[in-house]
Symmetry: C2
Subunit: 572 residues, 2 copies
Amino acid sequence: MTAAASLTAVLCLGVLTSCGTAAGQGDDDYTGPPVNGGTLRVAFDADITCADGQQAGNNTALNVSRQIADSLTDQDPETGEIVPWLAESWDVSDDSTTFTFHLRYGVTFTDGTPFTAQSVKDNLEGIVDLGAKSSLGSTYLAAHFPGVNNTTVWADPDSGSHIEFAGFEHFARTAERGLFDFLFLAEGLRLREHKGQVFDQDVVGRPETATVLSALAAVTTHIGVTGTFNSTFNEPYDLARTLATLDRVSGGRAAWNVVTSHNAFTGANFRRSGYLDGADRYRRAADFVSLARTLWESHRGSDGSFDWHSDFFDVHGTFPVPETPQISPVIFQAGDSDEGRDFAARHAEVIFSAHTEAEDRKAFRTDIDQRLAAVGRRPDSLKIYPGISDILGDTEAEAQERYREVRHAQVHGPGAIAFLEQVWGRDLSGYDPDGPLPDVGPDLDNADITRGRVRHEKDYGAVARRWRALAEEKNLSIRELVTEVSGRGGTLIGTPAQVAAKFDDLTQQRAADGFIVVPHITPGGLDEIVDRVVPELQDRGVYRTSYAGSTTLRDNLDLPAYNHSTSQEVSA
Amino acid sequence: MTAAASLTAVLCLGVLTSCGTAAGQGDDDYTGPPVNGGTLRVAFDADITCADGQQAGNNTALNVSRQIADSLTDQDPETGEIVPWLAESWDVSDDSTTFTFHLRYGVTFTDGTPFTAQSVKDNLEGIVDLGAKSSLGSTYLAAHFPGVNNTTVWADPDSGSHIEFAGFEHFARTAERGLFDFLFLAEGLRLREHKGQVFDQDVVGRPETATVLSALAAVTTHIGVTGTFNSTFNEPYDLARTLATLDRVSGGRAAWNVVTSHNAFTGANFRRSGYLDGADRYRRAADFVSLARTLWESHRGSDGSFDWHSDFFDVHGTFPVPETPQISPVIFQAGDSDEGRDFAARHAEVIFSAHTEAEDRKAFRTDIDQRLAAVGRRPDSLKIYPGISDILGDTEAEAQERYREVRHAQVHGPGAIAFLEQVWGRDLSGYDPDGPLPDVGPDLDNADITRGRVRHEKDYGAVARRWRALAEEKNLSIRELVTEVSGRGGTLIGTPAQVAAKFDDLTQQRAADGFIVVPHITPGGLDEIVDRVVPELQDRGVYRTSYAGSTTLRDNLDLPAYNHSTSQEVSA
Ligand SMILES: Cc1cc2nc3c(=O)[nH]c(=O)nc-3n(C[C@H](O)[C@H](O)[C@H](O)COP(=O)(O)O)c2cc1C
Ligand SMILES: Cc1cc2nc3c(=O)[nH]c(=O)nc-3n(C[C@H](O)[C@H](O)[C@H](O)COP(=O)(O)O)c2cc1C
């Protein structure tokens, strides 16, 4: 405990609130007014395993170690603002890569040794030296099996069907060989249509997610299985039952990525009529998740009976699946609106984020941390996993050359025109992909020319103006422009050692807690990263060398065990 | 073709109707009035593989061989009645085990040999000699993993959890080792309640069926995976997508047992309000299955788009799962009402039947054959698989002794009282299970004292009167009575060779096309039958020795390939 300083322990109210602890004065049943002095009893939901500040990865350990060791900064439990503690102030360089802390004078350790800049340096380097044992400094990887996408290079001989189970199985086994945290399956409830037809440059089919994940769980042993399921078009009892079964079949490796698409285009597949008002999408999602958790907990000391009456659901009965290894599957969230972020801060444990540039990622982390603080949750109780792609070469030049080839294959002529049509809302098939941008502007009334697609951009007029300016500035053809704007930002390009170093850097900077690798070739595209990059990360000591000790997905993710009172507190 | 007789080929209208063939006169486009003579062209949906009457197991082969070989009897396509052909008349013995056919005189084979009783004997014995190659004379087995049940002997060391995946996996691997046709999972959408509480003598939980089956499909290679799913509380798009995915994951081994429970007790789990009127349960089921088949066929030469507007569903869109190996999973039906049987005759390929006594089974087969004829389907297009249990011993006496032990363990005191309460509709906990029946009669207004249970009996007053008479006649205690009336009728008791002989007999008598074995111990109860009875059946030459040649469940079941026009014709 090298950094333990002799300051009086600061009582961290945020921690108490978020754990739903019982406080009394000496007497457990004390109900009188607050008084000074006496004994404060605090209940934790789990054993305090390792309280070393360099290794502590869960709330229980942190709650204890924060009583006996100080940090450079603290966080105001009311506002989420980062406030001074051992550091009186700090400066951040313009590129956000250098942080300079001005330490408080006169602080000593309990044995009287003075607290200096060297103490801080030793502490931080100790984390790196600990390598994979330090959950604070490790790199985590997960794998995304793309369904609908514009990244697959179909011409590559390692590209195969996105429908046959054999492809999914190869992908899952490879990810598990690479000791990944989880597999991720997206969901599209209706095949995309473009100009009124199924979009044939796309994947033309998609099997049902839970059914595929359950089969994958049966042929793997440690990797998590994360499925995307919609909270608008599903029913809580059905989905909760399926997810609980998946958690059982997999021995505690299930996760649910909560998404809220609510449009009538998708709904027409399912329902007679009556689609959800967009404004209610996250209200329903929150109610849905809270009800699902109630169902998952319904066998804790009880017989599974439940009773739920809300604006969205009016059900009662008994839940048929007994308590599962994780109790609640891990909750993911994807969706970047304000309401989406608030929902994540209240209910989720992992965010699948679309932020790909380093700056963006850090700003997003800060934003999420503030929202977490506002509901009394700690930053490390919600992990952020952005999607990421990589291109390897034996030399950096070879990797760059391969990247150009891949981008060329990804953006073919008809694809470039279709991509532009999505924003322009017009038929542009008369234009030459190798010629300049269309002279006409976008038809904003026809913004749904492509249907069933997740729209991350809302204002197509602004997008079109930005693109036109860029094309004029750099003198780009349609295809060159699309190549430039459609690339998955932040792609890591280089030798395996270089790519490993970049993964490591991003983690150390806390630009991400882990990465969801989106290969440009499916199912064969993961082998290269597993065979070449993972060993480099292991050599750096920042990547696990076995799943030892992990039995559930929460273990893989270094998340605290599911805690009933926390989830209730936060969803209140 | 030893039985081919020289009678003029009889044109079988039933066959033509059920295949949806196109008929014209010499000219394919002939649309005039019917005339005598000319050419009749008939289209079949599959190749005519083997036309030997002793082996032919599918409609195409039968349709052809019926044009060149005669049978003892024919079936009237209008009424379903069995009418004379080579046999002028026949007598059936009182116990329905001996059929005496009176043959027509003066019939010769094409080579002039006279047709005699010996010809018929040789023909029938030829089927037995052919053994497993003759699909008409083979025994088929399937395995039922009981969820909710009153048969499990929990005290047996081979009894394990009905929830843990390991138990399901052991069961599935054993059934596949025994070359079974399929695994069968029942469904209970809400845990049973008895006197207002979850019924704790029962299994207290049940994982979701599709999720379990998909995981089982991933760890097996040939055995079919049949799941029970309700057509009242599911939505066609959701369930069709899940089942199509299961058919893909399993490589064509999926089946759906369509059930129609519609009560509000179950519905309260799911829906805000509005449960289906019982009278509509099979109307919705038929519409549901027809829509599901439309979805499964939506990629045949098309892009998956669909449009369906009916009393029950109003949906349009695109179906995301491309055509699967079986196109439509095999459709099973369970439910014994008149409407249920009609639904089976129109839409199902297998019936899971509750008829356990030999007489009952034959009467049921006859009833179903008539309903099939009425919609233009052949008897062998719908297989009947009753549930069956067995008890083995090294000697017959040992088996009988074991049977008594098993029944004693199955019917313990509190279980006997609860069983009686289900019919009496009253709290009978004050009565001694080893004493006489209660003096009070049933409270018929409280017939739902047990909720969530499939009620095969509708008139509890009559049941109670029957039981009382039986108890008085044989001087039975409550427990003895329940032991007598709750046993699964038709349990096969004996040495492995005796039990094999009984399976074989039942098949030869056409009392069943196959059997769904319901062990009294789960998951270990199947091993014994696989290790001891299956080899005996193989020795008799009536059981497959490998899955060779079977790739889909339809192959395992000797069903014809799924045929669009037939299904449309029949569901019209
Ligand atoms: C990175 C990312 C991936 C997503 N993947 C899916 C998906 O696979 N299926 C889906 O229906 N929605 C997906 N969405 C979520 C939808 O965008 C979201 O639930 C909905 O549109 C509303 O979100 P918002 O308004 O908060 O952005 C994804 C969102 C993000 C940011
Ligand atoms: C042998 C047998 C097994 C059945 N298994 C189930 C089951 O597992 N789950 C279920 O919901 N219904 C099951 N049922 C079906 C229901 O009885 C049926 O769908 C519904 O009650 C209406 O059927 P009916 O009125 O035609 O008898 C089964 C029926 C039979 C005959």
